[in-house]
């Protein structure tokens, strides 16, 4: 899967997960993000797993078994990111300051989990992030405000209003999405070819 190229200042930049001496650890991942969690636990001191909770959304790949084998205090598997979010919101509410949050996997997983943490009052800089796996994007159509999921092409047709959208690198943490703007507004008969660029 692709690496993220440097881009404009609003395009998110991700890091590498590193264990902290926090009293508790909340670890969220999807698909290939599991490998980042495996690396994290391998680098962590003794006792880390006992204080850790893992929430995982399996995909391509499904590394559920490997994550369960880490022996974290709690392990939960959700069938999708959207199924995970309400549970996550509650988790953010009940934890205390001094819990370290780790988000790993696709940009959509990271963005939606981060958005949930922000709504609970946690500053976005408090949450560690690591990108692994697909570069597929969530794209908010600036015209109808609908979000199109799992966008891999440039341009993309808005799943809500049908306009053909240029997928920009301009990103909103609040929407956990990249911005889509009508690409052929000046000449609607223009039909630029769709290329798969976000894999």
């Amino acid at each position: 899967m692709g690496t993220i190229e440097p881009s404009i200042r609003s395009r998110p930049v991700y890091g590498t997960l590193a264990p902290t001496a926090a009293a508790a650890h909340l670890c969220i991942a999807d698909a290939a993000g599991a490998a980042a969690l495996l690396d994290l636990f391998a680098a962590a001191p003794a006792g880390f797993a006992d204080a850790a909770e893992i929430c995982y959304v399996p995909g391509e790949p499904d590394q559920s078994a490997a994550l369960q084998a880490l022996g974290a205090a709690r392990f939960h598997e959700s069938p999708s990111v959207f199924a995970l979010l309400p549970r996550l919101a509650r988790q953010f509410e009940r934890m205390s300051m001094g819990t370290q949050v780790y988000l790993a996997g696709s940009e959509s997983l990271i963005g939606l989990a981060m958005m949930t943490g922000m709504r609970a009052g946690l500053d976005y800089q408090a949450m560690q992030t690591e990108h692994r796996g697909t570069l597929a994007r969530r794209v908010q159509c600036v015209h109808c405000k609908g979000v199109t999921e799992r966008v891999t092409t440039q341009p993309v047709e808005c799943a809500h209003c049908g306009l053909l959208l240029l997928v920009r690198d301009h990103y909103s943490r609040r929407h956990a999405a990249f911005q889509g703007v009508n690409i052929n507004a000046e000449d609607p008969s223009e039909n630029p070819p769709m290329e798969e660029v976000f894999r």
Binding site: I8, V142, H143, L163, D169, Q179, D187
Partner: protein, 351 residues
């Protein structure tokens, strides 16, 4: 009680559909022409906002002109269609009250014939004659106003208003009324910091423009506002050139011809100012928009000559970012006819 708007010097005009907007000659001459020399490049062109020069847009801290009533009518139409153009994150209510106080006191002080504000503790009484508004309310209690404080007062003030929360040595766009913008979305950008919302601007980041601008803005103090000018060009005097409606106004960009450029292509000047708000410590960032058609420019020879030279020498990335590619050459050809090649005088004011 309120004097009907028709008895006051405010135009009845539109900024959409039939575009009946026109500048009277005095309005043209008082516009804040943004070019003080014959070429343009980004700069941290901040200065203090205080000179009070008569017969210019700088005369009063918050400027009201002949387009006031019509602009507010257009704003109301935009908001009816899309309420997301005015948003305020939950922690910005106090900044909204600060903004209401600043705009009401400024307008009442500058234009006592049109606005008045009387205050008895928190019991305030506001009169806006041009818009036929009279409102008694309790300062600090949003239940006594028909809208939240930011929306209430900015429905009565020309230009867009961004309210920036100051945190962690940065500024965050956490509230705004944005209906007259040159192509950016409040709904998308709200919550971003200074560098993030400026991310799409080419070239400027490498020049360190935003680092220096931010340092300047963090030092803006109460009662000592700053300002700068920005500019672009728009086809038709359309205030709502939002990305939200781009699929509606975008096609107009290809409609400029040599025959219509004089009256259909406009220089769009943004007078931006920066005010420290007292209770919230936020920065109020008004963006006030002035339109001058190419024909309007030719009534001030210095300005049409200079506009010609600026367009001719503009770096291509800048022209593309500002959306000028469709009509730049047509504008250059038209303005060339008004440029005698002689040196233009210093500064931006008309001769």
């Amino acid at each position: 009680m309120a004097t009907p708007a028709t008895a006051l010097p405010f135009r009845d005009e539109t900024f959409r559909d039939d575009f009946t907007f026109r500048n009277s000659p005095q309005t043209v001459r008082r516009a804040p022409f943004p070019f003080d020399k014959d070429s343009y490049m980004y700069a941290v062109n901040m200065e203090l906002h205080r000179d009070g020069r008569p017969d210019t847009a700088f005369e009063h801290p918050i400027d009201v002109d002949e387009h006031y009533v019509a602009e507010m009518r257009d704003r109301a139409l935009v908001l009816d269609e899309d309420p997301l153009r005015c948003q305020s994150l939950p922690h910005m209510e106090l900044a909204g009250w600060d903004t209401l106080e600043l705009l009401m006191t400024s307008k009442a002080a500058s234009y006592p014939e049109w606005f008045s504000l009387s205050r008895d503790g928190n019991a305030w009484h506001w009169i806006n004659r041009p818009m036929g508004i009279e409102q008694r309310f309790t300062f600090g209690d949003a239940t006594t106003l028909p809208y939240g404080p930011l929306e209430y007062i900015t429905r009565q003030a020309q230009g867009d208003f961004c309210v920036l929360d100051e945190r962690q040595g940065n500024l965050w766009m956490d509230a705004g009324m944005v209906t007259t913008q040159a192509d950016w979305s409040l709904d998308f950008d709200i919550g971003m910091n200074f560098f993030e919302w400026h991310a799409p601007v080419p070239l400027a980041h490498e020049l360190g423009i935003f680092e220096r601008a931010l340092k300047y803005l963090l030092a803006v103090q109460q009662a000592n506002p700053a300002r700068r000018l920005n500019w672009t060009m728009t086809v038709n005097p359309r205030l709502d050139t939002s990305p939200e409606n781009y699929h509606r106004w975008g096609p107009e960009n290809t409609h400029i011809t040599a025959e219509n450029v004089a009256d259909k292509l406009f220089l769009r000047i943004e007078l931006q100012s920066f005010w420290r708000l007292p209770r919230s410590n936020a920065i109020l960032f008004p963006i006030r928009c002035y339109f001058l058609s190419m024909r309007d420019l030719t009534t001030v020879p210095k300005w049409s000559a200079r506009m010609h030279r600026v367009l001719r020498s503009l770096p291509p990335e800048l022209a593309t970012y500002k959306g000028l590619d469709n009509f730049r050459d047509i504008a250059i050809d038209y303005l060339a006819g008004f440029d005698d090649g002689r040196a233009t005088s210093e500064g931006a004011f008309p001769d």
